[in-house]
Symmetry: C2
Subunit: 368 residues, 2 copies
């Protein structure tokens, strides 16, 4: 891959990644496609709303349908009919959040599938092999997702081990021209450990660097402190990915600190629960005040859903439990996230990011 | 409305209806949009797959969100973002199949909502008012859906009452230039009662005529006997609608007997259960034999789903319970039904309906 830092406004960055399956303009929000589909979306809808890259989950696809099967069907892009870039996570996060009876060893993580109880050993080598087999544009180094809160001694031990796993992940990568590899900075809430992790990863050398172990329940202010502290420790010439983050506010703050890439299930999961993002704050479509409301979700939004459907109709679909409720809500929320990042990118190009940020907060507190 | 009988091949008919929201070429299959949405489909998908007209359900929309609310939001077309014609049923079928504690009286049906237990009296006058309020292109006369099997004496009494309700339905229609009204032939499995019903309805005079009370569990052969007997009793110059029917075979046989319009939840409901229609018969996508099958659902189908997705991927989506499984399966099944009717129409135009019918059955028994 090639990364170009096109412009900087304060710490906020406007960049471009050239990947095997195409170009990604940053800052970028990446919709999550856990099981080979972004829940409720056709690939054509994702393209229409402006998604440039989606996530695939190694843990899920490894267990079902299996990475070798996906390869035999032409790889993940072909399997899910998505021609643009795909980033795959390492499986680390899900091994810790979903699987049963896991035991962490130096060689990897021994776990039981949440689907059928089958036993597997996920190692850095296997994680990279799965990601390459899927045909990922960007693979993530295998790491341990450290819970929050955690004792310093545990965080130190786990962060050191993740650095050793990162080195093994890099050594395991076979097609360096085809798949970019990102390292993941751990270190929990401890600045010294974040700094050590960042230094160790740069010594190994990666195409990009991520902040892991965030948005696990800590206060926003604490997470923003880590953004502000850890992002400047990473090289300017590589993309910076803040994993699993977050709310629209988190994205704005992440960019303000120098973040380039973000992913989160929030827009898609919330959509299915009727929680919609707007320029003026959040909106719960099930509320009775929307019963006869002929306005779109967001009067400042130009997406397909806001152009064609009323709040009253979307409330009706939600109350009926209709599939179309999830589809339309997801479309709008993803458009909101993707469009927000595009607006931020334009503001950076025009050296008015701080003005954009102030207006972003003003509109949200002003209400409709 | 205006109906033109364009061509006839044996008893099979090729026609055209001109309705308030556009032209419908017959024979036609009408997807069912119970609650103001064809489950899992965007309106744009329905247009892309060739749907010319969809059904709305009076019973459902009357109870939720309420027809007056739909009117205040610009009518059902605007509410659901569907610009082409809509046919609404009378509510009769659902009052009998879904509601609780109903009692049938001469003035109408007293019932309790399946949603909240609220009491309502649905009369022919109210049914027509609801349908006109929704802005339907074709309204159906209010009738009693006679269960199968039923005693002759009961069927006779109920059929006579439905004829009286049909007359009241016609009298209740206020905007005759905007909304077409169809009468529904009842009479159960009794030819004499079907004939009497057909004669009574023609005496009242309707824009089109439907066969009701079919596909309720009777044998196919018995249903086809009713097609063959009752359809020729109806005027050539009006469209003929076989309600709630049916399988692809039922549609072919219905057209063979002179039917023009069909609706059924089968393609949409089966899709959500992983049951797919193909040129070569039915296919259950969950079966393990499709685990690594790179072929499309139907190798003779040119729909969006068959052009882009493998059986293996569709099986994966189904096993994962993904929303996209319902969306893609529904798209394919509706395309199959709509395309089948278009093929039948072309065959009729070219005086080769019998050859088409023979080939249709040959392919289904030949298998893949």
């Amino acid at each position: 891959m090639k990364f170009s830092l096109l412009h900087q406004d304060g710490r906020a960055r406007r960049g471009r990644m050239e990947l095997t399956h195409g170009v990604v303009e940053t800052p970028v929000f990446m919709p999550v496609g856990t099981q080979g589909t972004v829940k409720g979306m056709l690939p054509e809808m994702l393209m229409e709303l402006g998604a440039q890259i989606v996530l695939g989950n190694t843990y899920h696809l490894f267990l079902r349908p299996g990475h070798e099967l996906v390869r035999s069907l032409g790889g993940l892009h072909r399997f899910m009919n998505w021609e643009r870039p795909i980033l795959t996570d390492s499986g680390g996060y899900q091994v810790f959040s979903l699987s049963r009876l896991r035991s962490i060893r130096e060689d990897g993580v021994d776990f039981q599938s949440h689907l059928d109880g089958s036993r597997h050993l996920l190692t850095p080598e296997l994680s990279i092999a799965v990601q390459e087999t899927l045909g990922s544009d960007i693979a993530m180094a295998f790491d341990e997702c450290i819970p929050y809160p955690a004792e310093r001694s545990y965080v130190e031990m786990a962060t050191e081990r993740s650095s050793r796993w990162a080195a093994r992940s890099k050594a395991a990568l076979s097609q360096k021209d085809r798949t970019a590899l990102f390292g993941i900075v751990q270190g929990g809430m401890f600045e010294e450990l974040r700094a050590r992790s960042a230094a160790q990863l740069q010594e190994i050398g990666f195409d990009g660097y991520a902040l892991g172990g965030l948005a696990l329940g800590e206060e926003s202010a604490r997470m923003y402190d880590i953004f502000a502290y850890a992002l400047p420790l990473l090289p300017d010439a590589a993309p910076r990915y803040i994993m699993g983050v977050g709310t629209p506010e988190d994205l704005v703050e992440g960019v303000a600190c120098g973040g380039d890439m973000f992913d989160c299930v929030m827009p898609t999961r919330n959509a299915r629960n009727g929680l919609l993002f707007t320029t003026f704050g959040k909106l719960s479509i099930k509320q009775s005040r929307f019963r006869d409301d002929s306005r779109p979700i967001d009067e400042a939004c130009g997406c397909y859903v806001c152009r064609h459907y009323s709040r009253a109709y979307l409330r009706h679909l939600y109350l009926c439990g209709e599939i179309l409720s999830s589809v339309l809500n997801t479309y709008h929320n993803l458009f909101y996230y993707v469009h927000l990042m595009r607006q931020i990118g334009q503001a950076i190009e025009q050296d008015r990011f701080e003005a954009f940020r102030a207006e972003f907060y003003r509109l949200r507190t002003a209400g409709e």
